[in-house]
Symmetry: C2
Subunit: 255 residues, 2 copies
Amino acid sequence: MSIIAVFNQKGGVGKTTTAVNLAAALSRIGRTTYGIDLDPQAQLTSIANVSVKSGADTILGLFQQNRPLKGLVLDSPSNIKVIPSHTEVSKVDALYGKGFNVVNKLNNALQAERFGGKDTPVVIDCSPLVGVLSLNAIFACTGLIVPISADHLSTKGAIQIEKTLGALEQVLKRRVPRRYLITRFDGRRRMAWDVLKLVEEHFGADVCKTRIAENVSLAESPALNKTVYEHAPDSRGAHDYDDLLKELLADGFIE
Amino acid sequence: MSIIAVFNQKGGVGKTTTAVNLAAALSRIGRTTYGIDLDPQAQLTSIANVSVKSGADTILGLFQQNRPLKGLVLDSPSNIKVIPSHTEVSKVDALYGKGFNVVNKLNNALQAERFGGKDTPVVIDCSPLVGVLSLNAIFACTGLIVPISADHLSTKGAIQIEKTLGALEQVLKRRVPRRYLITRFDGRRRMAWDVLKLVEEHFGADVCKTRIAENVSLAESPALNKTVYEHAPDSRGAHDYDDLLKELLADGFIE
Ligand SMILES: Nc1ncnc2c1ncn2[C@@H]1O[C@H](COP(=O)(O)OP(=O)(O)OP(=O)(O)O)[C@@H](O)[C@H]1O
Ligand SMILES: Nc1ncnc2c1ncn2[C@@H]1O[C@H](COP(=O)(O)OP(=O)(O)OP(=O)(O)O)[C@@H](O)[C@H]1O
Ligand SMILES: [Mg+2]
Ligand SMILES: [Mg+2]
């Protein structure tokens, strides 16, 4: 099973960049890959060059009308199959509390509709809010990736996540497999190496050996509504996400 | 009156970096400057090297117990007077709806306690969530700064803000003075200049002439719980926030 949630309550650390490019990397090795956009800012949706006119055609449709996930899937030119978002998705966090049934809604739907098998992996992009949607992603996932950009404010956010996860695991009654991924790593800055050291000391074996370098191709591709593989397949950013996928497959984090 | 809210619903664009260093720049020209931290991640609080043990000593105290703001103020080694945050501050968005009285709570308290005069300016740091807390900041402010980091995903977020502000102004029945501030500007990247052009075309005269350069001193200073003025007062980042303050004073955005 491979349902990968990408979450960090710190903003701008590379959640969306990681979710969309990891999904694209999976598609490139022949998997039918699903990207679920749980951020009302719908940035994974826009990078994948798809859009919807209302919340009914997003995860909100699952919550409000029990719409099947399969009916929400759009094909994207990036080869990712996208369950898109829309600004109305913010209603999920506004209207629903964090009760057991609510936070398991996505989990139940993914299982009932048989998503997330080895040939149909799922990658879920979250907003930085620890709300109903992000909890749904964490409760539904087989593994959680926590991107940490190579700066100090982002590291403080990651340490906070550990506490949040600890509390959630009391409820889940199981450990959530996780990987901390250093992103935006600029090897010319001493700060980047300081952060790497801190993160490795703190999170040990859960830190990905692959680091995503600061690479402008990763920041440019959204302007063209493309993944890095469509925009700059030979760039450092593309290679780094390929390496990340290899690492996650090799140690079974992704099946 | 000078009550400056710093908001952008995109994560990681430099809200906290701008709020804390602008507040520090104001302190350095002799103003008694108040920094209000409305982000449950309490990053302005930690950069200012203060902390509190519970939500009662934060803005949550105002909402739950009508605590006077003056009783919440802590002195910081950075010379900013801080109304700190704490993870419990997330209860404000969880417990309160967005009714008229709730979103005006901070506004009323600032006015009743005479904050925000020319000699007692206030800078408010927001989380990226458009919730009760951020609405309180927008309803209370005399001016709104929207940092936009010089990349494309951040620009998409800023355009979304314009719509959000438009909707809020219907309720406020007045225009919120605003400035768009380009941050993390790396002049060696063509993308930075592309973003600058897009932002200027879109927001015209509301774009600050000052841009904050990508400068590692701004990213390092939080690790030492310092503003850039305490850590690297001769750095490019320190000079840029000085220039920003000069510009905002010259055109009356800050009194
Ligand atoms: N490795 C990288 N190199 C260069 N730029 C990057 C890299 N990773 C991300 N970026 C850029 O940094 C900005 C923030 O990244 P991104 O939007 O993916 O973060 P996020 O965690 O999803 O943010 P949010 O919390 O707002 O959802 C974007 O402009 C993105 O293009
Ligand atoms: N001009 C700059 N040069 C270099 N680094 C910067 C600059 N501005 C901000 N940063 C760094 O970028 C990261 C994001 O900035 P910051 O935390 O201020 O953004 P934010 O909008 O407050 O994020 P959030 O949405 O999580 O509250 C931080 O590590 C910060 O130190
Ligand atoms: Mg994102
Ligand atoms: Mg912040």
